[in-house]
């Protein structure tokens, strides 16, 4: 089930809100767990088993790790076992065929592919369980004694299938006792509706432009650039819209989930971009891979190895394909180059820094979206005149005109301009009063408009479902 759907908005959501708030405090986590499993089973009934196995191993091994905290060998064994089960399930479901294909290509053998369907959200909840057991082993959190509470944490539907990656330590206290307030509920509703609008009104519409581009027989350099820019805005609004909805839902149920995006397109370097894009994934790799490997407090060759390992894994996490691995390594190269060569110089010219970052980020997303490395090279080449495409085509001009307003809204919405303007207005008493009156009306209008788009059916997959 996706948030931006009629069944979620008008069947599941009212049901879970009613059941949750009617339930006594001691049953609220159980209620969340039950509804989360229904939510998950809605899309993939059989994959609930994978999730239950993950929860069960995390729960039992978490308890064992804590029990043998004073016995390092046993603690390490149980931690490694938990990590092996989590990562093993992920590798089995997500990467088995990738390894077989590459093994076949290298050896000339023809081992049959397993064709395992990818359980939705497995990359996200695997990382959550990993963080839990590792944090228990490190002693930074206590093991959860109540399986329902741990189950509610892992399976919690708002962030189950596309993040943000909420670590157990982020919400451990809230799982055992959280407050619900009008202020928090209103903030949650606001955040949810804004996320829904980002997804339905911007991301989905640009998704249709991208689909038209991919189906066209009327390609041109202009169309390539239009696609590349549209895709960058599309993926940002799609993913950050989902994160907004997740964070908003979390607030309605009394949780404070970590932020996942902070206007990444205003970054002035790739380094800054990754501090603002998919923050919870970046910080996860930093805390559980990069720093344990020594981070940057090691000799330069080792530091380079650390960087490339982390970005190889970051790319690979996004998908079992060389395009994703290259995408991760592409950023590794940029980050190393920035840190060792030109970051200081880049910071001296804001315009150049922005152009540089947007250009490389846009190109990186063309690679990200390409079905193969060859196609990526062809697409990126075509953006710069290779391949013999005409400079413009009728369809490209038409779609540029047709999607101009959405692209402009998307581009402006990717910056804090609107947020800052509203902040300025609300500094004055009259402005604040006006905004307070307008906000509920605007949110209701957005909700109605989004409902119209969903009722009429349109392009609506969440990109990050496949991860």
């Amino acid at each position: 089930m996706v948030f931006s759907s009629i069944p979620f908005l008008y069947y599941f959501l009212p049901a879970v809100i009613a059941a949750y708030f009617i339930s006594p405090k001691r049953l609220k986590n159980a209620m969340l767990l039950v509804f989360s499993l229904i939510f998950y089973a809605w899309g993939e009934p059989r994959f609930v088993v994978f999730m239950l196995i993950s929860i069960a191993q995390g729960y039992l091994l978490g308890l064992l790790i804590e029990k043998f905290r004073e016995k390092p060998k046993l603690r390490r064994v149980f931690t490694l076992l938990s990590c092996a089960i989590s990562v093993g399930l992920l590798i089995w479901c997500k990467y088995a065929d990738f390894f077989i294909k590459n093994f076949n290509a290298l050896t000339g053998l023809s081992l049959p592919l397993l064709n395992i369907a990818l359980p939705i959200g497995i990359s996200f909840y695997t990382f959550q369980i990993l963080s839990y057991t590792i944090d228990v082993a490190r002693g930074s959190v206590s093991a959860q004694k109540n399986p329902i509470t741990l189950g509610a944490y892992v399976a919690m539907f708002p962030q189950l299938i596309a993040g943000p990656i909420v670590r157990y330590s982020d919400i451990a206290d809230q799982l055992s006792g959280r407050t619900h307030s009008l202020e928090k509920t209103a903030a949650g509703a606001r955040r949810f509706v804004i996320g829904l609008a980002k997804k339905v009104l911007i991301a989905n519409q640009l998704g249709e432009l991208i689909a038209a581009f991919k189906a066209t027989g009327d390609g041109s350099t202009l169309y390539m650039w239009l696609y590349a820019v549209a895709y960058a805005i599309h993926i940002y609004f799609d993913f950050s819209g989902y994160s907004d909805m997740a964070i908003g839902l979390g607030k309605i149920f009394g949780f404070d989930f970590p932020e996942n995006f902070n206007y990444p397109f205003i970054s002035k370097s790739a380094t800054e971009f990754w501090r603002r894009w998919h923050i919870t994934l970046g910080s996860w790799f930093r805390d559980y891979v990069y720093i344990p490997m020594g981070g940057n407090r090691v000799p330069k060759p080792r530091w380079l190895l650390n960087i490339f390992t982390v970005w190889f894994l970051t790319g690979f996490w996004h998908g079992a394909d060389w395009t994703f691995i290259l995408w991760g390594l592409f950023f590794a190269v940029l980050l190393v180059a920035e840190k060792t060569l030109y970051l200081k110089r880049l910071e001296k010219s804001k315009v150049l820094a922005h152009v540089y970052t947007l250009l490389f980020v846009t190109l990186s997303f063309v690679l990200f979206d390409s079905p193969s490395v060859g196609a990526a090279a062809k697409n990126i080449g075509a953006m710069f005149g290779a391949g013999g495409l005409p400079p413009i085509s009728a369809e490209a001009v038409y779609n540029l005109r047709s999607y101009a307003a959405i692209l402009i809204i998307g581009a402006v919405g990717s910056t804090p301009l609107l947020k800052n303007a509203l902040g300025k207005i609300s500094e004055k008493p009259l402005g604040k009063k006006l905004l307070n009156i307008c906000e509920p009306i605007a949110l209701l209008a957005l909700l109605a408009l989004c409902t119209g788009y969903l009722v009429d059916g349109s392009f609506n997959p969440f990109l990050y479902f496949r991860f």
Partner: protein, 366 residues
């Protein structure tokens, strides 16, 4: 309004909206069809262990929930308004508005399907027409995009190329050009079709091309109910209804129309269908595989077979005065190989009369 009041308003309005729509959806009865979209609406899916485990129930429910949503047409209209007037998109679901006319984007030119149409026509010629003793004609009906698209900055197919391709591959047929007889005012604003009362000159040009003459004066009859064409429902825009006029004449009094599918006889106009979901079915009962119009009072013994799409329904009656028998065959619904069981081509002239939109999407021709 202070922050607390604002928070109350946000929570109450959003909560009320979601819960009210949910309850409304639960208590309201399900509709069978959408008149505006001219389609059946999804019904509550069957619940079974298999449907639940395979996900069939879930996907069925998602369609059902969207199709049966309260005030569905109103929400669809809201979306169309959002696309056209808020986000300034040039089309909605592929439909655009130009000079008050709604039209569906038809782009690009699919040369292969045009050639496919020509192949189908050739097959019919080889099977039934080559030795029939009659003449074979071909004519192409431009869709509204011919008049609107290029001038309005919308992607447009090369109509000249389309006709050229078709003619190159149908050398057995004599081409009759009706493009000069048509203008945008000859079409409905909200529908794909042309208006019967505006195509008398087109019918005359076609008849002249086939060596016949049309002189009949017709009386314009207007349906009471406003006509909302197919684009009205598809676009969901607040377009106004328009007059539907059909042409009447005493010559139709003695004419009988045989409907193969229903094995029944009727008149040229089906007034009952004029009140149905698609009032354009007024003309010869709409899309039918095979219809035979017989005019015992015709001054000639000439016979005509028209291979046609839905545009043919409204123009065919205008040929009645010049032909004793007109057979209309729609190979979208009647496979070419089955035609021999129902139609006789001996001595009859044949006309392939197709719109550009069908020729550019000829996969439907059998």
């Amino acid at each position: 309004m202070n922050d607390k009041l604002k928070n109350i308003a946000v929570t109450a309005l959003c909560g009320l909206w979601i819960f009210a729509a949910a309850i409304w959806g639960l208590v309201s009865s399900d509709a069978e069809i959408s008149l505006s979209e001219r389609r059946k609406l999804a019904q509550f899916p069957e619940i079974s262990a298999e449907a639940l485990s395979s996900g069939g129930f879930m996907s069925g429910f998602e369609k059902y929930a969207a199709d049966q949503f309260p005030l569905r047409d109103g929400f669809r209209r809201l979306k169309a308004i959002g696309e056209f007037y808020i986000f300034r998109q040039l089309d909605s679901n592929g439909i655009y508005l130009k000079n008050g006319y709604a039209s569906k984007l038809e782009y690009p030119l699919k040369e292969e399907t045009v050639k496919n149409a020509a192949e189908k026509f050739r097959r019919i010629y080889d099977l039934y027409l080559s030795g029939s003793g009659g003449k074979v004609y071909l004519s192409v009906i431009p869709d509204k995009n011919f008049f609107l698209a290029e001038a309005g900055g919308y992607p447009s197919i090369d109509f000249e190329r389309l006709v050229g391709l078709l003619r190159e591959n149908t050398e057995f047929a004599e081409y009759i050009d009706i493009f000069p007889t048509l203008e945008i005012e000859d079409y409905y604003r909200t529908d794909t079709h042309w208006r019967q009362e505006k195509i008398v000159d087109t019918a005359k040009a076609l008849a002249e091309g086939m060596g016949a003459k049309l002189d009949e004066e017709y009386e314009e009859m207007t349906l009471e109910k406003p006509f909302y064409g197919v684009y009205y429902g598809q676009s969901a825009l607040p377009l106004s209804g328009e007059k539907m006029i059909y042409l009447d004449s005493p010559i139709f009094d003695g004419v009988s129309v045989y409907n193969l599918e229903e094995d029944s006889y009727g008149g040229v106009y089906d007034l009952e269908r004029a009140n149905g979901a698609d009032p354009y079915e007024l003309f010869l009962s709409g899309p039918r595989s095979l219809m035979v119009i017989e005019n015992p009072n015709a001054e000639t013994d000439r016979e005509l077979v028209i291979f046609r799409d839905s545009f043919g329904s409204s123009i065919a009656p205008l040929f009645v005065e010049a032909y004793k028998k007109i057979t209309l065959i729609d190979i979208r619904y009647l496979p070419t190989m089955s035609i021999k069981y129902f139609a006789d081509f001996e001595g009859a002239d044949a006309l392939f009369l197709y719109s550009t939109s069908v020729l550019n999407n000829s996969e439907t021709l059998q």
